[in-house]
Symmetry: C2
Subunit: 333 residues, 2 copies
């Protein structure tokens, strides 16, 4: 199920060029151009009290205000709009019960295509409704990896839909890179850019664009100690996985993708680990001081800054707030 | 305890002019000039999904991102900076356990003055700490009106501090008016401006500035049914009070002030009532759709729009989001 063989550039490239290589600067610029009218150029927010608390100067890029409430919209819409209209007739498919599901649903709607979303049959009602609201068709599977894969393969075979991977895909990576692109264009002279790392779509995209535009700026990732596959991969040089990790940062439970790891090991300065308590503490600080709703995953980089205060003292740090889709009935406070 | 006799203009007026009359347009403009470098020019946020849901076009002025997390900073800093430096030597006093307490504490600090905050001895720890962080001195009273008044009077007699009323004061009203001033200057052609109504500082200030700058725009207030003193006052033409009302909108539990009522009955188009369930529903919609943290009080105007959908259909509505200081451990969801 390698989606890349289906991917063609739709705007501004030779129509038969296969995009199966690491995005270069023009790829990311074209991605930004392609998606800009369908996404929100999200604001950057600072907090005096968090700056005083950390001794750093932090610029939060608020992708919780993005369409579908998460940066995932960027990668999905880039991957989908890269297909020429005549390629979109059979629609798009993915498996996700999270933000990627909503992103593929909305992006398909924008592309006048059908979306097929494979979801575990125990997915929360609110997630199902969000996807349905965008007009997508949900196909339920058993809540395990095998059923998820088989169901998705079957949907694709039956419908001819094109698979849009959540992160292990260069078009998706190029789309996610546009968040950091806006951040570094809007905020001069950052010393560090940080993202949480899960599958690695955002992390890899961020690492690339920072390297291309601001090569002296460090990219540092942050990860829950309880889902430390990216950390172990990075330190060992070998791609590691994690199975059913127990972390509140539910967006970071997936294992790092192969393409993502290739980029991360090349261009990321370091990966820092934080505990569950540190994540919850940082999440509460952002909610209370900044008055914005963020998912637990977003709090992971701030938790790492607080934990490593000395290392970040006096630095100008950009942090990507990845999303704001939380279950208000089930908060950790 | 009439504070107005202590109030002098500090900037741009004859120094001995008593400000004991309804603020005119220049008063509000001067207030804005006086406070602008100490406050945040807060953003205006819109939500496609809330617009679709209501059939209106709503512009939310986000005072939850204001200093101290609420619009109250505007009135407090205006009242305090209206005093010449030599008048500030004995500090400022108020009674509040809410946002006004934090606002007077921070505004006094900015004015290089001492702040004395009278608080009930059962005030939540988090409220006490917030005030202490700004360097204010807390004086505890029994949790009843009589003790609060007596304690505040004693503090003022002992220290010579100047009382800063929470809402029944023309300097405070002029300061609060600057929120709506920014809203209507940043958002052309609003049909309606809405605020929740409690003591009436924000409502009266909003009513005045809208009348001065955009006289064809309606000002409509919204109030919890369970704390309907402003509604009853407005409909009867006589100032009514409410005692210990049972509403989740804790910022709106106080009774309307006399000066505030004088302005509101003259310049407000209507006051709409909403139930507790309607408030909680609207609060949840704002949290989920806009990803911002707001106090229950802020949800009252949106609740009124949803309840009176037909009346507001197709209108461009500005709503002031009053604050974001909520107890995360005690949410209604």
């Amino acid at each position: 199920m390698n989606s890349s063989i289906n991917l063609h550039e739709y705007i501004g490239e030779k129509k038969d060029k296969m995009v199966n290589s690491i995005p270069n600067l023009s790829d990311i610029k074209r991605a930004h151009q392609r998606i800009s009218k369908y996404i929100i150029h999200t604001p950057i927010i600072t907090s005096n009290s968090i700056n005083e608390m950390t001794g750093a100067e932090i610029f939060f890029k608020c992708e919780n205000f993005q369409k579908v409430g998460a940066f995932k919209m960027r990668g999905a819409i880039n991957a989908i709009l890269s297909h020429r209209p005549e390629e979109r007739v059979n629609g798009f498919a993915t498996h996700s019960s999270g933000n990627h599901a909503q992103a593929v649903a909305l992006a398909s709607k924008i592309a006048n295509s059908k979306a097929y979303i494979v979801m575990p049959n125990n997915a929360p009602e609110v997630k199902k409704n969000a996807v349905k609201e965008y007009g997508a068709e949900i196909i339920f599977c058993e809540p395990n990896e095998k059923s998820r894969q088989e169901t998705c393969d079957r949907v694709i075979a039956d419908t001819g839909a094109i698979f849009i991977p959540p992160f292990n895909d260069y078009k998706v990576i190029a789309g996610q890179a546009t968040a950091a692109k806006e951040l570094i264009e809007d905020t001069p002279d950052l010393d560090v850019v940080m993202t949480p790392v899960g599958g690695g779509g955002l992390s890899a995209g961020t690492a690339l664009i920072v390297k291309y535009i601001m090569p002296n700026t460090e990219v540092i990732l942050a990860e829950p100690k309880n889902a430390d596959d990216a950390y172990r991969s990075f330190k060992s040089g070998q791609l590691k996985t994690v199975k059913n990790p127990n972390t509140i940062a539910d967006g970071l439970k997936v294992s790092l993708g192969e393409k993502n790891f290739g980029i991360i090991k090349e261009h990321v300065k370091d990966i820092l680990l934080v505990s569950e308590d540190e994540i919850i503490n940082a999440m509460r600080i952002i909610w209370e001081r900044m008055k914005i709703i963020i998912e637990p995953s977003c709090a992971v980089p701030l938790a790492a800054v607080i934990k490593n205060k000395k290392r970040f003292n006096g630095k100008r740090i950009g942090i990507i707030i990845t999303g704001g889709n939380v279950d208000l009935g089930n908060l950790p406070f």
